[in-house]
Amino acid sequence: MRVIAAAIAFLTSFGWAQAFEIEDQKFYGFEDSKDVVKIISTSDIEIFEPLLLAFVNKYPSVGVDYTVASSQQVFKAVYDEQAEFDLVISSAMDLQMKIANDNLARQHISEATQRLPEGAKWRDRVFAFTYETAVFLISRSAFHQSEVPLSRRALVELVRQNTDRFSGRIGTYDIRISGLGYLLATQDSLSSQTYWRLTEVFGLAGTRLYCCSADMIRDVEQGRLAFAYNVLDSYALRKVAEGKPNVQIVEFSDFQTSIMRTALIPKNVKNEEAAEAMLDFLVTLADRPNLALSTGMNPIIEGEPKSKKLLSSVTLGPSLLVFLDSMKRSDFVNSWVSSMRIWQESN
Amino acid sequence: MRFLLIEDNKGLSQAITERLELDGHIVDGVSDVSSANTMQNLTSYDLILLDLTLPDGDGREVLRHLRNINDLTPIIVITASREISERVKTLDLGADDFLVKPFDFAELEARVRAVLRRKRGDARNQIEIGNVSFDQLDGTLTIDGEPVTLRTQELRLFEALVDAPDRVHSKEHLMDRLFSFGDEGSSNAIEVYIGRLRRKLEHSNLKIETVRGRGYRILCP
């Protein structure tokens, strides 16, 4: 036992063994490259691959080591364990914000970053490169077109009046597990009163909780879910692009929550130059419209979140830290859980 | 000629009067402004000699007064000041000439002659002796109407002789008259001039006689 512990300790000291969990990993570029950039990210390889390929195409001598993990795990790796990575990409803006706020991200100023609008970078430590909108996704087969709710209030009414019909067929993030889910839920609660009524009504009907967008979308597409609430549009759009007819994005008329996908260079970066190059590459996605289009991403520079409806944009700033406060968080989660528990218990 | 001398210095006034009388002039002397005015009212004079510094006023007042009442008597101002500005001012006030004390009497004579010449206008002042007509002021000589040019010294010599025609003028006397003491000249300068004068008067009926041991005199027919 002691030997194993020692071995683990030995390995851990080299950063080979890690306490955080990863979901996926892939290497791109020149195999024997000495110039490797290690990335940890919340974005699936499926989504991000075109970008990485384009990057190694542009910089042939560089190798990209891309690791995927959940937003909580990414945060744990960087903040708690200070694992060695050159670039950290996450959709959980609040967690990225915490890293930057606590001076664990390195400052980077370049011509590319200077082009970012206000709110899309913070203290030149954390940078947003795409807009993400949280959307309402429905399974066409579950709705008549006429009854598709177009606002949150409408949705509340619909679910309340059809509890049986929607029982177990509502999907949303498990905010206890998904950092992104927690972010979207807390921002929602700030934006409108309806959030808690919605949560209550979801709980009443019976809601399935998910860790990730992909699974939610798959279940909607397969008809297991009637709808998914607060799905990231980039994921959804890919599905729509793939021509899956059962999936429909509904934009609420009251508001849409828009967040940003962000990247930062941790303080203990090893390959700073490559990290900066990658960061600049990501930030200037707008200069490669074809690439953007192929990934379904909505680049930030010189662009605006593409929506015709009213947006509640979440911007980078320390107010994102409020809901990370342990007390505040446990209060919120407890309230949320007590709403959701209703179904789980009855199930 | 009749002079009015206005001079306050008794000694100088006396001396000037005597000296002028030696040459045959008549001199009335006064020593202040008021007397001057009185005298001027009583008699007319050929020339006024006016000293500027007088006890009861400035000689210029006399000058001004006379000119104001249009009295045209020639006035020669005598003064101790050599200032040219003084001269100009006095002449502007109406004086005819200006003499600085101490002056040579020869100079006085020359100036008097000049002033009178200017003033007399067309009136002639000729002396006829024999067939010679002598203009004292002009200093010109004509023999039977023919003008004869005489040099200045010759003229003065002639004038001196003609002044007292039958009198014998001693060489010294003539030298005094001719040479204004500054130019001593040689003693036979007189003889030279007499000789010249004789030659010039050849065609006249006047004769200059040498009186041995005594001098010269001019003889008229």
Partner: protein
């Protein structure tokens, strides 16, 4: 023009004034900028601290007790407000004693200066950056237990420094602007302040050299003593000038009148002298008398010329007019001596700028000389014209002339040439002429007149 000694100049009142005013403006500007920066810093700090306090206060008011436990519902607005003010990291800690209720454990809690203080600030380093920390102590009733809670809130200094540097730039900019305006005003002010002086200088400069009126203007108080001294000097000078003139006139009168007496009486005596011996003696008396008269005259002339040379009154005059005025009184005398005076112009309308009376005196002296030394039946000729840049008046006589050696010394005081020893005279004559010419920057040249006689040439600069 008389030789004007140039006044040595050191510095300039205006320049001094301007430089000192600018220096003062510079100091004021620097003080202003420093003051604004200082004050600006204070204000910026105070504003930031107030914001921090407001946020902390709102956090404090979100505290409540729940089930005997201290609960905190961190207000989103508090952070939102701080976020809006500047782009800075925010750290917080709510603690009871050393136990952290929530927030960053490592954040220092600042002890207030006095127990009654409602807030305490400090600036420290935290997580590798300088931060401004505020601790607000609050007492909360937790289930009947009075608990002292410390709400500590901190933020980094980026916003503060950026505000301060903004203030500094504005202060510096305003300071520079202020300085430029001050410099312009300084220049204007100095011009205006010195105006009375300048106009005084102008008024005095415009005076002619002979103007001896006292300066009668209203002058600034600083210059008044100078002008008073100047005026008293003018009065004294006038007075002494007048006295000198009076003296000369008086001396002239006192010498000449007795001399006139002596001469006249001697002449009378000469008429009555009977022996050649007595004649000879009297003649000697007359010669001596004449000599002293002449000496006196020339001395007085010399004094007058020297005197007048100090303040010559220059005016343009043509040579022909000058000569006419000078020689008019000599005609009777020349005639008396049998000397012919002629005037021969070589050029008409020659203008010179001279003191007419001085030059008349000079020309008169030369003529006097020429007539005195010439014998009868000779000619004294006065010619005039232009030579190079000078107008000349040449008086030539047929007298004894000068020997070569004598010419050099002719203008020395009391010099009398070898050939003139038999005639009386003081030898001052040519000195007088030379002095008069010097006043006008003119020249005197004496040359031989051919075989017999001399030519005295008076040369004067032409009037431009």
């Amino acid at each position: 023009m008389s030789v004007a000694t140039s006044t040595p100049i050191k510095g300039s009142v205006q320049r001094r004034l301007v430089l000192q005013l600018i220096f003062v403006a510079l100091i004021l500007t620097v003080l202003f900028v420093l003051a604004v920066r200082l004050v600006g810093e204070r204000i910026a700090q105070s504003a930031q601290d107030s914001a921090l306090f407001a946020a902390a206060a709102s956090i404090a008011s979100s505290m409540h007790s729940d089930n005997g436990e201290l609960q905190l519902d961190l207000p989103h607005s508090a952070f939102a407000m701080l976020e809006a003010i500047s782009e800075d990291s925010i750290f917080y800690r709510v603690s009871v004693g050393s136990r952290t209720v929530t927030g960053d454990d490592e954040l220092s809690v600042i002890t207030p200066a006095s127990p009654l203080a409602e807030r305490a600030y400090a600036t420290e380093e935290f997580r590798g950056e300088p931060v401004r920390i505020l601790t607000v102590p609050r007492a909360l009733d937790v289930e009947g237990v009075f608990t002292n809670v410390s709400i500590t809130l901190a933020h980094t200094r980026q916003g503060f420094h950026s505000t301060v540097s903004q203030i500094q730039s504005i202060a510096t900019g305003v300071g520079i602007g202020f300085f430029i305006v001050s410099v312009a005003l300084c220049l204007l002010a100095s011009q205006s302040a010195l105006k009375p002086l300048k106009s005084l200088v102008n008024a005095i400069e415009r005076r002619g050299p002979e103007d001896l009126r006292p300066v009668n203007r209203e002058v600034p108080s600083e210059v008044a003593p100078l002008i008073t001294a100047l005026n008293s000097f003018i009065v004294r000078l006038s007075g002494s000038l007048d006295k000198a003139e009076e003296f000369i006139a008086e001396a002239a009168h006192r010498i000449r009148t007795p001399m006139a007496l002596v001469q006249t009486n001697a002449e009378i005596a000469l008429r009555f002298a009977e022996t050649s011996k007595s004649r000879g003696k009297i003649r000697e008396i007359i010669v001596a008398a004449r000599e002293s008269s002449r000496s006196a005259s020339q001395l007085l002339d010399h004094a007058t010329v020297a005197f007048r040379a100090e303040n010559p009154q220059l005016a343009p005059i043509s040579l022909s007019e000058l000569i006419e005025r000078s020689i008019s009184r000599f005609f009777p005398i020349a005639e008396m001596k049998g000397i012919t005076l002629t005037v021969s112009p070589t050029k008409s309308n020659v203008i010179v700028a001279v003191d007419s009376l001085l030059m008349q005196s000079a020309i008169g002296n030369v003529l006097d000389n020429a007539i005195k030394y010439s014998e009868s039946d000779t000619t004294v000729d006065i010619s005039y014209g232009v030579l190079n840049d000078y107008g000349f008046i040449n008086i030539s006589d047929q007298g004894p002339g000068f020997s070569d050696g004598d010419i050099k010394h002719a203008t020395e005081l009391f010099f009398r040439g070898k050939k003139t020893e038999s005639t009386e005279g003081t030898g001052l004559g040519l000195k007088i002429v030379s002095d008069a010419l010097n006043v006008h920057n003119g020249r005197l040249e004496i040359t031989k007149n051919g075989e017999r006689g001399s030519c005295v040439s008076l040369q004067l600069p032409l009037h431009s």
